[in-house]
């Protein structure tokens, strides 16, 4: 493999993608470490193993683009570059959290970087993202909106209702299905006879493609291409991104060897680890050294340390915050 020069844009991008994944990984691993202390009194839905999707997607989208996510939202939040300290503060229920302790882990938000909201009701942000895309089109704004959801969300009727409307109105929306093969403990095949998610709404005219979500470069390239097509007035698209959930559905533990898992999943998941795979590319294609990686890891670890310290030091919301933010003027 031909070595690229040390400061090429490709190399820079590859490093940024990798760094983004590593940030998510290390931040979530820190959540696992902290969890037994009961300082994080929040159901945490970790994205360990799924970082390729958040990183590839969030970096491929333009700064002004909009995203909507789920309770499994740490990855999107960090990959969009929102403040890590405010995320940990949110997990701690602190007033400095990104929702000032109102929403917790399941409702991360950072509108200044386009993360418009995360919801804990399966499928519920799909129409909301679609509506945001309607606003963009109506107001002739150039942003694209991504609805990010799991393979369970396509069970919900609003998925079909939403994509039907998006196709009808040709809205600038990308539907990103993170197919980690499970909705809690239920396989796609437990819930559907036809198991290719990308095809589910084909009868409504929705274009669907399936890609390897653990290949961060592939995710990036695909989203870049599709977003550009949408900006040129193209039709909405569903991108199914296959991935692996290493941890239990909710909580800090791993259950990848539980009875309900697919056979041989652990080793497949390990082989598919988006970080390891990206590492090889970095090394082989871009001449990134082990030292570079160690330095990066140290840097991010320090960032996580700082974020946690910020959260620890942050104040809890005062009692006057209970009634705040119900209505704008109240």
């Amino acid at each position: 493999m031909k070595k690229k020069p040390r400061f090429s844009p490709e190399r820079d991008l590859a490093l940024r993608l990798y760094r983004t994944m590593l940030e998510i990984r290390l931040a979530e691993q820190r959540i696992v470490t902290i969890y037994p202390s009961d300082k994080i009194q929040s159901p945490v839905h970790l994205s360990i193993g799924q970082e390729g999707i958040s990183a590839g997607l969030c970096l491929a989208l333009a700064p002004g683009d909009h995203l909507y996510g789920t309770y499994r939202g740490h990855g999107l939040y960090l990959a969009r570059g929102a403040d890590m300290g405010e995320m940990f503060a949110e997990l701690y229920g602190k007033d400095s959290g990104c929702t000032r302790g109102k929403g917790g882990s399941m409702h991360l938000v950072a509108p200044h970087v386009g993360l418009m909201g995360c919801s804990a009701i399966v499928g519920s942000t799909i129409p909301v993202a679609t509506g945001d895309a309607l606003a963009a089109k109506t107001l002739k704004k150039k942003y694209v909106t991504a609805a990010v959801f799991g393979d369970g969300a396509v069970d919900e009727g609003v998925f079909f209702e939403s994509v039907n409307f998006a196709v009808l109105k040709k809205l600038p929306v990308i539907y990103v299905c993170e197919n980690n093969k499970y909705a809690i403990h239920s396989k796609v095949s437990d819930r559907h006879a036809q198991t290719v998610v990308a095809k589910f709404a084909s009868g409504l005219g929705l274009r669907g493609i399936t890609i390897d979500g653990d290949d961060v470069f592939g995710v990036y390239k695909t989203v870049l291409r599709e977003a550009a097509a949408l900006r040129r007035g193209g039709a909405p698209v569903l991108i199914e991104m296959t991935t692996h959930r290493w941890q239990e559905h909710v909580g800090p533990g791993s259950d990848i060897e539980e009875y309900y898992r697919h056979k041989g999943e652990k080793s497949r998941a390990q082989r598919s680890d988006p970080l390891s795979r990206a590492q090889s590319v970095l090394k082989k294609k871009f001449g990134v050294t082990k030292d570079d990686l160690v330095a990066m890891q140290a840097e991010i670890t320090a960032k996580v340390d700082g974020a946690v310290a910020f959260a620890e030091a942050a104040p809890f919301p005062g009692p006057q915050r209970l009634a705040a933010d119900t209505f704008a003027s109240a």
């Binding site: 990104c98 009701i121 909301v128 509506g131 609003v158 704008a328």
Partner: protein, 342 residues
């Protein structure tokens, strides 16, 4: 000032808002057809074009989420349902999402969508085309709720909703659509949270909403002719609720009868009765009474439907009973003259 129909007032208000604010859009099943939601959206599509006024697929759940998302993206959607019963399909987006958007994201965003929904009644509307769900919207915090009774309320509350930064639902009544009322020119917003005293009186307070105000006013005439002076308070805004005006009236009269277009149990009438039993307790001279739809599924058959809703006659009878009097003969019957086919 001019005198126009309720349906025209709604239409003029939204047209005025659309003229002033290019982000206002109107969406919903049938908003752009020749029936135009009983005339309340008539002509809008011609005037503002199909991008701003459009029919939707019959997908209430997603369309509500789409309205919510559109509001986050900078539009001000007015999403219309020709029957409030269809809102059951949209409850997740209304309650789990729109109502919570501002709070659960720590005040970072508001979701200024407006929902209009029409209560059906009579001519065989029956089980699934007759419900009025205001108590649901009162129960869960996060949505402004209005029940405009007159043309002026309709115009004012709708304009107010279209200037708000938060979700609003307006629940209208089919029987009000053709009633004429005075409105100001141009229309001006009516603030939420201010009840209207439709009639002053000293002997008892009747709190009634929407079409029940019409029935109550009729009842009050009869009561008045028989020496009972009823005060009629119309909240028009259920969230926020103008507790002061209601309590002030109850403290003055000492008697409270609450009448709702919906069922009694856990309804608006329960809330206002409970409010009085707490905050105006020492002024109360007798039991607080409530009226609403009979506690059953709405029947179609005319004689049963007559028993199902409170009427000027049964309201008057209740008022007489509360004052320890027998209802005299000759109670008025309001003939709504409502004819179908829908």
């Amino acid at each position: 000032m001019k005198t126009i129909k309720y349906s025209d007032a709604l239409r003029e208000a939204v047209a005025q808002a659309m003229d002033a604010d290019p982000t206002v859009i109107v969406m919903g099943i049938g908003v752009d057809d020749h029936k135009a939601i009983f005339g309340s959206t008539k002509g809008l599509v011609n005037r503002f074009g199909p991008t701003r006024v459009f029919d939707t697929p019959i997908s209430e759940a997603a369309m509500t989420g789409i309205a919510l998302g559109a509001s986050l993206g900078g539009l001000r959607p007015v999403h219309i349902h020709i029957r409030a019963d269809f809102l059951y399909l949209a409850m997740d987006q209304i309650f789990n999402m729109a109502a919570k958007w501002r709070t659960m994201f720590g005040g970072k965003m508001g979701a200024p969508l407006v929902i209009r929904a029409v209560i059906g009644r009579s001519w065989g509307q029956g089980a699934q085309h007759s419900q009025s769900l205001q108590s649901f919207f009162m129960h869960v915090p996060g949505i402004r709720v209005g029940m405009p009774t007159t043309a002026a309320d309709g115009q004012g509350l709708l304009l107010s909703a279209l200037k708000s930064s938060d979700p609003t639902i307006l629940i209208e009544h089919r029987f009000l659509y053709d009633i004429m009322g005075e409105v100001s020119e141009p229309a001006v917003p009516t603030p939420f949270g201010r009840a209207i005293v439709r009639r002053e009186g000293k002997d008892l307070t009747i709190v009634a909403n929407s079409y029940m105000v019409v029935e109550s006013l009729k009842a009050a005439e009869f009561l008045s002719a028989n020496g009972i002076d009823a005060e009629i308070v119309d909240p028009i805004s259920l969230v926020p609720l103008d507790q002061n005006t209601i309590l002030g009236s109850v403290r003055k009269t000492g008697r409270l009868l609450v009448i709702d277009t919906s069922w009694v149990t856990c309804g608006m009438s329960a809330e206002i009765a409970a409010l009085a039993a707490d905050q105006a307790f020492s002024s109360l001279k007798g039991p607080v009474r409530r009226m609403g739809m009979a506690p059953v599924t709405c029947p179609v058959s005319k004689p049963l439907e007559k028993l199902f809703y409170p009427t000027a006659e049964t309201i008057a009878a209740e008022a007489f009973a509360m004052l320890g009097r027998r209802a005299p003969a000759g109670a008025p019957v309001l003939d709504a003259k409502f004819k179908g086919p829908f």
